[in-house]
Structures are given as C-alpha cells and as structure tokens.
C-alpha cells in the first residue's frame, strides 16, 4: 500500500538520504571530469642517420626539417648524415630538449 508508506517518516528520511547521495555522486562525477588528468605533452623528434656507419642522432624538430634532408657530416665516419625520420612522442611533465643518443 502506497499511501500508508508515504506516511512513514523513515521512508521519507531514506528517500531524502538517497536524493542527497545522488546529488553528491553527480557532483563528484562532474568534478572528476573537470579535474581529469592533464594529457601528456607531445614533442616532435628529428632522427638523423649516417648511412655508411649507421650512427644515429636525435634532436627536437626544427623548422625546415624534412625526411631526406642532408644535415652535415657524421662525427664517427665523416659520411653524410640525413634526416631519417620525424615523429611525435608523448612525454610526461615538461618536455626536455632532446640531445644526442
């Protein structure tokens, strides 16, 4: 029976609690999406390679770089270094300048 139940203060109390809990859950969900983890930073890497000796270097992308561009002499064998690959990768925190590997 619905009407006698509505008279019951305990039920009203439970419904109020349920309502409050639903509102709190909704707020937590909204806040969690607002403060969601910040995405990782993306850095663009230029990979250079010496064809004769396979020596490799990596650095941050510079304007004017393209795959196949000649970048100078190889420090190992004096051969010609070319840009072999340019790609992006995600890094945690503040991206650091890439140096020789």
């Amino acid at each position: 029976m619905l009407f006698p139940l509505l008279n019951d203060l305990t039920l009203q109390f439970l419904l109020t609690i349920l309502l409050i809990l639903s509102i709190i859950a909704f707020l937590i969900f909204q806040l969690s999406t607002y403060f969601k983890k910040k995405p990782q930073k993306e850095v663009v890497i230029t990979q250079m390679k010496c064809k004769p000796c396979n020596y490799e270097e990596k650095r941050n992308f510079q304007q004017g770089d393209y795959v196949g561009k000649k970048t100078g002499k190889c420090p190992e064998c004096g051969g010609e270094m070319i840009i072999y690959s340019i790609y992006s990768e995600l890094v945690k925190g503040k991206p650091k300048p890439y140096v020789k590997t």
């Binding site: 795959v67 196949g68 990768e89």
Partner: protein
C-alpha cells in the same frame, strides 16, 4: 483512506503528481533542451576551431608577402569554396567526370594558395593548400551543424535536433582531426598518412627520381636481382599526387611486363587495434574517391598483374596529425615485409612496382 494523511504526506503527494504531469507533457521538451544545449556547446567549440584555423592560416600566409587585411578578405571569400559532385543518374563515365572536377578543384585551391602566398616555394604552397583545405572542412562542418540546430529550433523538430546530437561525437572527432592537422601542415611535419611515401623513401635509398605524373615521382633500383620501380608523391610539400595515373603510365610504358604491384598505404584502424599494426592483403590500397583506384585496378586487370596491398593501421586523427612514433617504427618494419614479399613471390630478373600512397608532407625523395 486519504482522510488519514497528514499535511507532510499531502505535500509529498502533490510533488509526486506535479513531477508526473511535468514529465508526461514536457519530458520530450526537456530532453530537447538538454540536446540543444549540448549541440550549442559543440557549436561554440566548432566556431573556436574555425576562428583558430583561420588565424593559423593568416599567420602562415602573411610570411609570404600579402598583408593581413588582404589575406582576411581573400580567405573569407575562398572558405566557402565547394565542388559539386557529378550527376550519377547515368553512371556511364562518372569516374572521368569526377576526376575532371576534382582536378579542377585542386587547381583552384592551388591558384588561391599562390595568390595568397606569392613568394612561397613550391613545397610551401603545397602545405598552404592543405591548410586551406582544412579551413574549408572546418567551416563547412560548423555551417552544417549550425543549420540543423537552427532548423530544429525553428521547427521544434525533435528529429533534426536528435540526428545532429546522435552524430555529434563523430562530427567533433572529425573536426578535431582536421584542426590538429593544421600544426603538422604549417610546420611541415610528416603525418600518419605519409607512411606509404616514407616506406618508398627508405626503399629508394637515394636513387635518382623523375616526375612521372602530376606531383608523383618514380625511381628505379636493383634489389636481389629484381628491378624495383618505386612510386611516391612528390615531397617534401604536402602532396598526394595522382598515383593511379603514374601506375597506369608505367604499366603501359612497360607494356604490362611487370610481375607484381605492391601498394603501401595508411588504413583506418578498428577500435581495439594497435596503432602501427601491419596487415597484408590483395587489392589497390588507396583511399581516393574513385578515379585513381579505378586506373590501378583496370591496368592491373588488363595485364593480369598481381596487386598486393600492405596497410598500416591508424586512427583518423593519427592519419592527419604529426606521425606517431609507432607509425614511424612500423614504416621500417614494412620495408622488411615488402622485401620479403618480393623475394617470396617473384623470381630473379622480375620487375616489381612498389607504390607508397599518401600525403608526402615532410618527406622528400
């Protein structure tokens, strides 16, 4: 029974019935208001993408001579550029007409890019063309979404509002992909779609190249006693070229004496698949609207040349933004896959045509 109810219970009952009445008569209206507010939020985001893309285009173009005011006027006129698809009620010859219209459209975009940036080099003009293309797509998306929103509000049609709302995640994904591509094109980074030309660049290994069709280059080299004919879009500017035209021309020049064709292209991954996953198959691996694919299939069929495909899986956003590390690494692996396929399926002295399909931005030859 109702006589026994207290004042608090009457109040609860009143609230309950009020709620029922509101939900019965206005439930759909409330739902529509929620949908409209979500569409309006997405529309504001799209407007932001359009404004930022125009800003990016202006900042790139103003380096090449024209002043900002002139660029703005030209860009506003050009951004509404469209191509009307050919009539297909009589499908005979529709591919020829489609190719003609696409070529003319591309020529017009190239002309505009040259007008906006008269001092830009050939590859820079190609990149500006791609930036303009992205601006047109974003502006179109914004206008279409706005049209359906206003139409739905005006006619109070749930159908119009609902269909935009249902497609909103896909539309926003598409818009984000094009917006993100602006960075790659303005700075000249290779994009995910360029994995095909990148594989062919590795295979070319410095061999001399010549232009065989519009914005498509070819090179020839020896590999384990086989002759490789390598085809890719001309770089490092953002070109796709006409690879179908190039492949057809090579096949006709060689009078069909080609033992195998291998096409390498980026392909959309299914949800759950890894970026950079490699798959092999049969057919013309090219994602054009039709004319280029038709030429390749028809030429291969005419001379009975096996048509192999190697695809590298990636999402839409990965295909148009700076190449991800996984895709760059996959390109190196694809070289080995192609070499293995050639050695296993052809004998010495065979001629193999390898075509890397995709945008060559940031990848030379």
């Amino acid at each position: 029974m109702l006589q026994g109810l207290g004042q608090e219970s009457w109040f609860s009952l009143f609230i309950f019935f009020l709620f029922m009445i509101i939900m019965t008569f206005y439930g759909q209206k409330i739902q529509m208001m929620v949908w409209i507010s979500e569409i309006e939020r997405a529309l504001r985001k799209l407007r932001d993408y359009v404004d930022k893309s125009k800003g990016k285009a202006i900042s790139v173009v103003k380096k090449y001579g024209m002043n900002e005011k002139e660029i703005k006027v030209n860009l506003e006129n050009f951004i509404r550029f469209f191509i009307i698809s050919p009539v297909d009620l009589d499908p005979a010859g529709v591919l020829g007409r489609l190719e003609f219209l696409l070529d003319k459209g591309k020529e017009r975009i190239h002309e505009y890019a040259s007008i906006l940036a008269p001092k830009a080099s050939e590859s820079e003009t190609d990149n500006i063309e791609n930036i303009l293309g992205a601006c047109i797509v974003l502006d179109n998306l914004y206008r279409i979404v706005r049209h359906f929103l206003l139409l739905g509000k005006k006619s109070q049609s749930t159908l119009h509002i609902m269909q935009v709302h249902m497609q909103l995640p896909l539309i926003m994904k598409f818009a984000k992909a094009y917006f993100s591509s602006l960075k790659a094109f303005s700075e000249g980074h290779p994009i995910g779609d360029g994995v095909g030309p990148l594989v062919v660049f590795y295979l070319m290994d410095g061999a001399p190249t010549k232009e065989i069709a519009k914005d498509v280059v070819m090179a020839e080299r020896e590999f384990e006693g086989r002759k490789l004919i390598l085809v890719k879009a001309k770089g490092p500017g953002g070109n796709v070229g006409k690879p179908g035209e190039a492949i057809k021309k090579i096949i006709e020049e060689k009078k069909g004496e080609i033992d195998m064709i291998i096409m390498i292209d980026a392909a959309g991954k299914l949800e759950g698949e890894k970026t950079g996953e490699i798959a092999e198959g049969i057919g013309a691996a090219i994602g054009d609207p039709g004319p280029e694919k038709y030429k390749i299939e028809e030429s291969a069929r005419k001379y009975g040349i096996p048509l192999n495909a190697v695809i590298i899986k990636q999402s839409l956003i990965e295909a148009v933004t700076t190449m991800k590390k996984e895709i760059a690494e996959a390109a190196v692996n694809v070289v080995e896959v192609v070499k293995k396929r050639i050695l296993e399926n052809t004998s010495a002295k065979a001629t193999v045509l390898v075509a890397g399909i995709g945008n060559s931005v940031g990848i030379s030859q």
